[in-house]
Symmetry: C2
């Protein structure tokens, strides 16, 4: 059992809030225990608060963020349905793959990595799509895309967003934006270990749920009988009880601080980090004006590396000497830059000072 204690500043997971570990260690209840059902209901109510939604069908899917993505697609898409996907990084590409496995006719609209998706181009991509899907906060590039215009002009289409890296960190507003389906993960701005995928589905989207989705495990028709409603709940699968304790506590930490305050803390730390990296003479990758605060992408040109070291070597030194985890780049940034997360309990000014100091020392050789 590793005893190593890291400062987790990669693209996720972050360090969980201390309250979360305490909750996960609580004596466990059964998944049908009335006291657990009450805890689940309260967890879902807290999720509604951070999603900024009134959606009744809001709950944590029993899997990681990618299970949330699959649940968000597989319950709404049948063979031949047109799905428009905006792709400006890895996770947009993954949405195309998942939709294609449901037999969708995928209309893929690409944008340069490091830039946001253009809502107008997505809206013009097909006259009558079943679904328009887009990643709000691209974890691979550190870019935020605007959602509100898509919601306002989606017409008959359902609007699906990935807010894995934005929920709890950057002003997600499901109802105001007109989003129909959204999923997230727990290990980013919510400050909880990975393992659950918060999902929310609008009333309008519920009416279109496929009667028999190709996934039994993620079938919302059946899961709704357990996660919503009053009184006794129908068993579908055994809920990951201790993880839900952890999510309940993580959401409690966020809401006790205040959602706006927690988001402001992410914003403040991210901007401090970005200013500090520029002061070190490093160039940020994501387009200005669309940079996420909670996930920063930065170029690390060869001439800035200590002699004989790759960027991967530098990250290995940061890990072994400082116990500090950064993420490698993806796509254009692979081998040429880093992804630095400042999320959840890790989004503290002291960690920004620490990471900037550690990077400066290590690049100096």
């Amino acid at each position: 059992m590793p005893t190593t204690d890291r400062v987790l500043m990669g693209p996720g997971p972050c360090n969980p809030y201390p309250e979360v570990f305490a909750a996960m260690g609580r004596p466990m209840l059964g998944h049908l225990d009335p006291e657990f059902i009450e805890l689940l209901d309260e967890t879902n109510e807290r999720l509604r608060a951070v999603f900024r939604t009134e959606n009744a069908l809001t709950f944590p899917v029993s899997g990681t963020g990618s299970a949330g993505m699959e649940a968000a697609v597989v319950n709404f898409v049948t063979p031949g349905d047109v799905v428009v996907v905006g792709v400006n990084g890895v996770f947009g590409g993954r949405l195309c793959d998942v939709a294609a496995r449901c037999g969708a006719e995928v209309v893929r609209v690409d944008f340069p990595w490091g830039t946001p998706v253009d809502p107008a181009q997505l809206l013009a991509a097909h006259p009558n799509p079943k679904l328009i899907a887009v990643v709000h906060a691209e974890t691979s590039t550190g870019v935020r895309s605007d959602i509100a215009q898509l919601g306002a002009e989606k017409g008959e289409a359902l609007l699906l967003i990935d807010c894995v890296t934005s929920l709890g960190g950057s002003g997600v507003a499901i109802d105001d934006w007109g989003v129909d389906i959204a999923y997230s993960g727990t290990q980013k701005c919510l400050g909880v270990p990975p393992g659950l995928a918060p999902l929310t589905v609008s009333e309008r989207a519920i009416e279109t749920i496929v009667p028999t989705p190709q996934s039994w495990y993620l079938d919302l028709n059946m899961i709704a009988g357990y996660v919503t409603g009053s009184g006794a709940r129908a068993y579908h699968h055994t809920a990951p009880i201790s993880m839900i304790y952890g999510l309940h506590a993580g959401l409690g930490a966020v809401l006790d601080e205040g959602l706006e305050e927690a988001e402001a803390r992410h914003e403040r730390c991210g901007r401090l980090l970005q200013a500090g990296l520029e002061k070190l003479g490093l160039e940020l990758f994501a387009q200005e004006g669309h940079r996420l605060a909670q996930l920063t992408t930065v170029k690390v040109p060869a001439e800035r590396l200590p002699t004989g070291m790759s960027e991967g070597d530098v990250r290995a030194v940061l890990l072994s000497r400082y116990g500090l985890e950064l993420g490698g780049g993806l796509g254009e940034l692979a081998g040429k830059g880093w992804r630095i997360g400042c999320m959840g309990h890790t989004a503290r000014e002291r960690n920004v000072s620490f990471v900037l100091g550690a990077i400066e020392e290590t690049l100096a050789g």
Copy 2:
């Protein structure tokens, strides 16, 4: 946050081993951290020990037992494939549903609830199935079925077993039995909270994995790049890190005790419980000679209930007065009996004495 401490003697979850909670509270590593990869490798090695297999592809699926079932089917079955399923309870029925959602031609062979499946009938059900699937330990009825004959006579078919309720409790022997695909859950005899589904796949089965399964999240082609092999691992999805810490510790507890010793403890406690229930004048439901020790089904006729109380009322009293959770019956046993688990850390003689005493007192009114 509930502070209630239950003795969990339903059909799962059980009470986790204390070591498990301690492990889940350890400072978290990232999913690509070399120290975490080492922990994951060791977890998989421990899973091989409890599955009694040499299968390289052995790891915990990032979801609960039902996700394991789906992974076990969706990676091997394509539309039109013949799948023979033995059904003697809820979970056999669920296997049919999952296989049908993959487009399988399901040959369902039913057996009376409370009895085991008959291997000869399964083998005779179709001349050339792609897959034969059966539940080793039916959680809905408390019955154990024999697997070895199926493995010996399966021919070209792949043999898939559900050992959610038997792994770590009743002598699962994947390699000796000739099983190709098996999945389990963590919240039964392994003494870990629910949230992961141990899965093992034989070399022969690996060769038949569907190139693009309909599930992206459960795609073994991609997951294998993360969970197996030496050196750097390809990111697929973020592993549920803290849950894997917990599984590592739970398996450690089982293997420190000794797998045979842990299985013998389950056997001893279950037989004590069953003898005690019969001594109270209650009749066991599962066929003699095929009764699971770790999960006992028992009839509770109306005349044994205190005046005006249903069996559900009695369970509610057990929960509120004793903090003791039993499971309700399913199928024929619904409203007419109980399922009493004695699994993982809960499988202790002291808990057998406790549950028998509590039942006797409560039935006396």
